[in-house]
């Protein structure tokens, strides 16, 4: 044999490498079919009429004028919803189409199908809805218990199969969930050094670029096929089944190309609507939201009001943390219970704190519904606790790095929930590594890279530099007792004369590279380089959600388990063919551990293909005690730290982030390039929250539902990044890997704000920072 040992010992394109994306060529040639690209002969276009009011009673709906418009095929209201009129991820309380009352501006009221998208939009505008406007609840403080609070919901939503047992819903109130954490003796304890602060996080939008869209096709069996961009096919189907009054097997979902997600596709948008229109008209119906509609059509990141008090000894060692966190969930439940769970259990950050008293509320208001967004719950709390750590550092005379390393958790630490961290928690190491990284050079010579960018505002005069640090913690996977699993079907067969593997899951690729990593796992496990990842659909069991940084862990675990089952079958064939023994599969060969290469994998497949479908779940978690927050609620934690270097032109209120440095422990870098992609992209979203991104809501109404007015970072705003990746294996996870996607979004925001504080001397309490926060404060100096 001329094949070298290196090649024989490894199958190319396996885990730990960075093979190119299988969909890359399609995406750079325009051939990749996103959900908004679908087209079918005879298809109709759907449109949605939405409530202009944040809160109103519907007194009448007249669809007559819309039906008369030429080209219109159907105009449907809540009366036409075949099944249950409400749906929801955890609690079914959101109307498919509004009945009786609308609870947020943009709530869907009527849907239309017509032969041209413009005709459908015009028809929707012709529908006459009479509203009796009701004063909305728009201040979460009022919602949570101010004497004048007004209930948004008169009745609680119904619990569904996905309801978390510990997610209480007030029978007649606005509190979605109130989670208490009581650890040690938080009420009685005192400390030598005490710092307090109030902090506020604005409402962020996921702002994926590919708008909500899909194509529903009525089927001969009375069911419907839906091609859609989503994050979780099976939970979409469960909710659709209720609303459409169809058994789940008659609703077949296939994943269409997804133009980003970041949490915004976890809740339903157009899925039920398009299917209702398709079933009613008997024709395929395509719905594509405009950007404006997209802002109304998905949940946002919960805005937060936070009050923190940190007590420490004179050396800076934490004695206690007391905190109140108030999260505005908007009109419907969505994933607010989980966001409260994350914010409360992770609310003191990755620090050892002997006494913790925390109250976290998620409340209903008539503001836009809020739910999942990258780092949900952990992002908001991190802005609070990291601001506090800097304050504490200043109070005791330590540096930002010193205060964090002094108090850092490590493997074996007990969290405020009583749960022990039972895998590496290298928080101090992250800080030390950040500290050791070289700092960027002085003020940039190219004025386009100074504060103000291409706006020509400074040539360096008035610019002050600042450096800030932050570290964050995020739970990976679904917590609090949720049965979190994924399913993989793995098949190996000869195609031509070559062994070829098919991996089929329902897990959703949203751009992060899951399709690549699934194939990498199959290559490494089965020793076969030709791997195809089938389109995700509901023909296979649930893959769980593409959220909570969980897919490589959970679906990766399922694919590995599926491959292991296939491999066992192949080893049985190998034993029959070559005699009993221990085998392994590498680079297309069957190796006996004793005799070396004994044959080709291909020869084992002459008897036919091998296929197995397996379900795989991570170790179980427990619910939290409602009164104390006790419970082993999380399966895994991920840690990430940032150092931000900023130049600030205080007189003009302009900020340029000069560099972001990041260190993250990923356990095992399954695909190092994709890991970097997640760290870059996640950090950019954190930067956006720090310095520009906010969905502005005034009196319950969105003020900036467009990319002209909702600003997110351009390539001019995003600095170069310096990234170090640690691989400290988690003994409980497949390959030792940790979820990667969310952590970088968590620590970049507080690091940037800390840097701006350092540069400007302004005590910033709110994100996003805007020019007026700096200009106005500078005046007072």
């Amino acid at each position: 044999m001329t094949v070298s040992t290196e090649v024989r010992n490894r199958t190319a394109g396996g885990i730990g490498e960075s093979p190119v994306r299988p969909d890359g060529t399609f995406k750079v040639t325009g051939q990749f079919a996103y959900s908004s690209d679908l087209w079918m002969d005879g298809m109709l276009w759907g449109a949605t009429l939405r409530s202009p009011h944040p809160r109103a009673r519907i007194t009448s709906i007249d669809v007559g004028p819309a039906l008369k418009l030429a080209g219109v095929s159907a105009v449907l209201t809540h009366d036409d919803v075949p099944g249950e009129k409400v749906y929801g991820l955890e609690i079914a309380d959101q109307p498919v189409l509004a009945f009786d009352e609308v609870r947020y501006q943009g709530e869907p009221v009527v849907i239309v199908a017509a032969d041209h998208p413009e005709t459908a939009r015009r028809a929707a505008a012709l529908v006459v809805v009479d509203y009796e406007v009701v004063e909305p609840v728009t201040d979460p403080r009022e919602a949570v218990g101010h004497p004048d609070w007004k209930p948004v919901h008169d009745e609680p939503g119904e619990r569904t199969a996905m309801s978390r047992d510990r997610a209480p819903v007030h029978p007649h109130g606005n509190i979605v969930r109130h989670q208490r954490i009581r650890f040690g003796d938080p009420d009685a304890v005192t400390a030598d050094v005490v710092v307090q602060g109030d902090y506020e996080v604005g409402m962020q939008d996921q702002a994926f670029l590919g708008p909500e869209s899909g194509l529903a096709v009525p089927a001969d069996d009375g069911g419907v096929d839906l091609y859609v961009a989503t994050q979780w096919l099976h939970v979409d189907r469960r909710q659709m089944s209720g609303a459409l009054a169809l058994p789940e097997e008659k609703i077949r979902l296939t994943l269409a190309g997804v133009g980003g997600a970041f949490g915004a596709r976890e809740d339903l948008s157009m899925q039920v609507h398009a299917c209702m229109l398709a079933l009613r008209t008997g024709r395929p119906v395509k719905m594509v939201y405009s950007r404006e509609e997209s802002f109304f059509g998905h949940v946002h990141r919960h805005p937060a009001l936070m009050r923190y008090e940190h007590g420490a000894d004179r050396d800076g060692r934490l004695v206690y943390v007391r905190a109140h966190i108030l999260l505005d969930g908007g009109a419907y439940t969505s994933s607010t219970p989980a966001v409260v769970g994350n914010a409360s259990t992770l609310g003191v950050g990755p620090y050892d704190v002997p006494n913790v008293g925390m109250d976290c509320w998620g409340v209903y208001t008539n503001n836009p519904p809020c739910g999942a967004m990258r780092g949900f719950g952990a992002v908001q709390a991190a802005f609070g606790y990291e601001s506090q750590m800097d304050k504490l550092a200043a109070a005791v005379g330590l540096s930002p790095v010193e205060i964090r390393t002094l108090n850092a958790v490590s493997e074996g630490s007990i969290l405020p929930t009583g749960q022990r961290i039972d895998s590496p928690a290298p928080v101090a190491e992250l800080m030390h590594r950040l500290d050791a990284m070289p700092l960027p050079g002085s003020v940039d010579q190219d004025i386009r890279l100074l504060p103000g960018g291409v706006s020509n505002t400074t040539h360096g005069e008035g610019v002050r530099r600042g450096v800030g640090y932050a570290v964050g913690i995020k739970n990976v996977g679904f917590s609090e007792g949720f049965d979190d699993y994924s399913t993989a079907r793995v098949r190996i067969e000869l195609v031509g004369d070559e062994p070829s593997v098919l991996v089929h899951t329902a897990a959703v690729e949203v751009g992060q590279g899951l399709v690549t990593v699934q194939a990498q796992i199959a290559r490494s496990e089965l020793g076969v380089e030709r791997v195809t990842v089938a389109a995700a659909d509901t023909q296979v069991g649930s893959g769980g959600s593409t959220s909570a940084s969980r897919q490589t862990y959970v679906t990766g675990g399922a694919v590995r388990a599926g491959c292991a089952a296939v491999r066992s079958s192949l080893f049985e064939r190998a034993a029959a063919r070559y005699g009993p023994g221990e085998f392994r599969l590498v680079a297309g060969k069957v190796e006996s551990l004793v005799d070396g290469v004994v044959g080709d994998i291909a020869s084992l497949l002459l008897d036919g293909p091998v296929e197995h479908t397996v379900q795989w779940r991570h170790r179980p978690t427990q619910p939290l005690d409602e009164a104390t927050g006790r419970g082993n609620a999380h399966v895994q934690w991920a840690f990430c730290a940032h150092r931000a270097v900023v130049d600030v032109d205080v007189e003009l209120g302009l900020i340029r982030v000069v560099e972001l440095a990041c260190v993250q422990d990923v356990g095992k870098a399954m695909n190092p390039d994709a890991v970097l992609g997640q760290i870059h992209g996640g950090s950019a979203q954190g930067l956006g929250l720090a310095v520009m991104e906010e969905v502005q809501v005034v009196d319950g109404k969105l003020r900036n539902p467009s990319f002209t007015d909702y600003l997110m970072p351009t390539i001019m705003d995003m600095p170069p990044m310096r990234v170090e990746v640690l691989e400290l294996a988690d003994p409980h996870s497949p390959y030792g890997l940790r979820g990667v996607g969310e952590p970088p979004t968590i620590s970049s925001t507080p690091a940037i704000v800390a840097a701006v504080r350092a540069a400007s001397g302004v005590d910033l309490k709110r994100v996003p920072i805007r020019p007026e926060h700096l200009v106005a404060a500078a005046l007072c100096h």
């Binding site: 960075s18 190119v20 994306r21 969909d23 060529t25 995406k27 750079v28 040639t29 325009g30 051939q31 990749f32 079919a33 996103y34 908004s36 690209d37 087209w39 041209h116 413009e118 996921q206 702002a207 994926f208 670029l209 590919g210 708008p211 190309g257 997804v258 133009g259 980003g260 970041f262 594509v288 405009s290 950007r291 386009r448 890279l449 960018g453 291409v454 751009g511 992060q512 390039d673 994709a674 970097l676 992609g677 760290i679 870059h680 992209g681 996640g682 950090s683 950019a684 979203q685 467009s706 990319f707 002209t708 997110m712 970072p713 351009t714 390539i715 001019m716 995003m718 170069p720 990044m721």
Partner: protein, 156 residues
């Protein structure tokens, strides 16, 4: 009230009939001419996902009226390669990992292609300024910069 629009797209003369006056060039390309590569993400020229070359200049196809495109010479992402082989900038976007969800990619490719035609050796600041009209939500732009640098290098 409809019009006929004839234009040259990726070197090929194409005609769309029954075009409603309010349709954009983007809609005509995507829905009438079978060229969905240019993406519709904001419909108001604020994201660059629909960037095409019109008469050799980058524009947002979502804001060009169908009627205004009559007789125009258009290049879309579908026309960057030669059918057999990807253009250099397409190759480097894949190789550098500049593609995640890919929705911004067609517009970015056109803008970067245009930049490198005008300036084969751009500085980082020049790349940033040229691509500032194309939003990407996945990558943090770092690998997009790598892809453009790599394409410039390969062309040398």
């Amino acid at each position: 009230m409809t019009i006929r629009v004839t234009m040259t797209v990726n070197g090929e003369p194409l005609t769309a009939d029954d075009v409603w006056e309010g349709e954009s060039l983007l809609h005509v390309l995507r829905e009438r001419l079978g060229l969905p590569g240019s993406k519709n993400a904001c419909e108001q020229g604020e994201c660059g996902s629909c960037t095409v070359l019109l008469g050799g200049e980058v524009v947002c196809a979502c804001l060009v009226g169908a009627g205004q495109a009559e007789g125009a010479d258009i290049v879309t992402v579908e026309g960057l390669g030669d059918g057999e082989q990807l253009a250099t900038i397409q190759q480097t976007f894949v190789a550098a990992g500049a593609v995640q969800c890919g929705f911004c990619t067609p517009g970015l490719l056109i803008t970067a292609f245009d930049l490198l035609n005008r300036d084969p050796d751009p500085s980082d600041a020049t790349i940033r300024e040229a691509l500032a009209g194309n939003l990407c939500r996945c990558t943090g732009y770092e690998k997009i910069l790598d892809a453009v640098r790599l394409a410039a290098e390969r062309a040398r």
